[in-house]
Amino acid sequence: MTIGRDDILRVAQLAQLDVPARDVEALAAQIGRIVDYVAQLNEVPAGESAQPFQAGPARTPLREDVPRSVPLVRGVETFAPEFRDGLFLVPRLGAMEAE
């Protein structure tokens, strides 16, 4: 399968990732090679196993849903780029809501 420039730009938009224009052609070639390589999975006869693999325990144990404090050695404000009055600060949302 050939991956083109438009495919890269579409996937980059889905992934919320800026891709420099100068890198798009190279990325298309590299990702095309990867997708061609993984396409060999189609050689494996279909229907041999309909079940997807389950990692870990067959049943996930759930603990009681009781609110409790989480011990942190420092507040969340120390690792966020901007934080004020208990809130994470981000640019205004207007442009996104308009989309």
Binding site: A15, V35, N42, S49, F53, P81
Partner: protein
């Protein structure tokens, strides 16, 4: 000066020497932290605590969070980030008296097989600087192989401890998925990720794994399995059947690697084990399966790095929230991480999900079923394979072609997909470079696997095959 302070000073001296020779294996360490660690362990000992790792210096891959040092995952996007809590494995190491010595360099977000994809520069192979140490846990491996620390934690998603252990000539152990808590391990591929252990010897690695293993209520995928025990090396392996899977011995296997497996097989036979041919036919599809599922999970897990809650922030030209996401992620992630996010997003997107993601999930089940069949009653107790198809390759040799780099993990990916325990053990040299053999065990059979490895280690050492 107390023994622990002396120990901490010795570690600092070795870390300084490693930095001075340009190994580039560490991202963070400080004399202050080491002194604080020594004082902390001294206080524990003074209070009469049982300390199975008393004073043992241990390095941590920098995708395992700690409160006393930054955690960057070797990425610009997390530069300067400090976790407000310790990972469960770190808490357990501290409680056992270990000295947390350093945070080790890695491929960015653990994505790579050579530790050339770190935002902070590549890690050198400890004895052959023009070669790679393997990856993604290359910094941890290099620190152990260079004698800076006797043990280190890495993480495996698809062989990232066994492969560098083989390249660097040390022991690398991946536990069963669910044996060790992932709480505080920065997520890459959540159905695959395992905190794993490097050691100079099987004994070093076993002692560390026994401490960090066990169910954790902070990680619902940990399993309430019988605890790991430290078993002595058996004097005889009579009655033990070890499978040699045909698919792991291709015609183009490096001759020195093949010779290493032959040496290990001969030593096991001499100890009384029976070696039998087996087949794991779907292992041939392990690398393509892995490179669908791991990027898909990564694309989801790394969505959290958006410039709002962690690390750096870039404001895009439009100055709004979507522009902030795109600019932060576009500038913050390196080339390999961007590539994997794009592949993962592609295979999860409408129109391709069934053809790639669902198909890979089905093949993963077939790969796991092959192992179940091999280990079924009447089958084999363990499997023996090469860890890697070649010894450590040259830096820059595979960076231009991602698929060629991915194939360095051809013998380690299947085990990760099946969630089984496995380890790499040094088995001599190929043209001066270390080669390793891989031992694979049934789920939760780490104790028996490590006992077998101890017996093999002693036999190879006694024969002068391994230093």
């Amino acid at each position: 000066m107390s023994g622990l302070t002396h120990q901490a000073n010795g570690v600092a001296e070795r870390l300084r020497a490693a930095d001075a020779r340009g190994l580039n294996a560490t991202l963070h360490w400080s004399e202050e932290n080491l002194a604080a660690e020594a004082a902390r362990v001294e206080a524990l000992a003074g209070a009469g605590a049982t300390l199975p790792l008393a004073g043992m210096p241990i390095a941590l891959k920098d995708n395992i969070v700690t409160t006393d040092a930054p955690t960057t995952c070797a990425s610009r996007i997390l530069e300067g980030y400090r976790s407000p809590y310790d990972a469960t494995v770190v808490r357990r190491l501290r409680e056992a008296g270990a000295l947390i010595a350093a945070k080790a360099n890695l491929d960015e977000f653990a994505m790579g097989s050579s530790t050339e994809h770190s935002a902070f520069g590549r890690v050198l192979h400890p004895t052959h600087p023009d070669r790679v140490p393997g990856g993604s846990s290359g910094g941890s491996a290099a620190l152990v192989a260079a004698g800076v620390v006797p043990a280190a934690l890495g993480s495996e998603t698809g062989g990232s401890v066994r492969q560098p252990a083989s390249f660097c000539g040390i022991v690398g152990v991946k536990p069963t998925y669910g044996r060790v808590s992932r709480y505080g391990l920065v997520a890459f591929g959540s159905s695959l990720d395992c905190v794993s252990v490097f050691g100079r010897t099987v004994d070093d690695a076993s002692r560390v794994l026994a401490v960090i293993a066990g169910q954790d209520e902070q990680d619902a995928t940990t399993v309430d399995a019988p605890p790991m025990t430290l078993e002595a090396a058996p004097g005889s392996l009579r009655g033990i059947r070890i499978g040699l899977p045909a698919e792991y011995f291709p015609a183009d296997l490096d001759a020195g690697v093949r010779a290493g497996v032959d040496r290990a097989a001969a030593a096991l036979r001499a100890l009384g084990a029976e070696l039998v041919p087996v087949s794991l036919p779907h292992s041939a599809y392990a690398v393509p399966t892995y490179y669908v599922l791991a990027p898909a999970e990564a694309a989801s897990n790394l969505a959290r790095y958006d410039g709002v809650r962690y690390g750096v922030r870039r404001i895009g030209p439009a100055g709004d929230l979507p522009a902030l996401y795109r600019a932060t992620r576009g500038e913050g992630f390196g080339a390999e991480v961007r590539r994997r996010i794009l592949v993962g997003t592609y295979v999860l997107s409408a129109g391709y999900y069934d053809a790639y993601y669902n198909k890979a999930q089905q093949v993963r089940n077939l790969i796991a079923a092959d192992f179940t069949k091999a280990f079924a009653p009447g089958g084999v107790h363990f499997l023996l394979t090469p860890t890697t198809p070649t010894p450590a390759f040259r830096a820059g040799e595979k960076t231009a072609d991602p698929v060629s780099m991915y194939l360095a993990d051809i013998f380690v990916s299947a085990v990760s997909l099946a969630g089984l325990p496995a380890m790499s053990l040094p088995a001599g040299l190929s043209e001066g470079l270390p080669v390793g053999v891989q031992i694979i065990a049934p789920a939760f059979e780490e104790s028996r696997m490590l006992a077998l490895a101890s017996a093999l280690e002693a036999a190879l050492g006694a024969a002068g095959e391994v230093r």
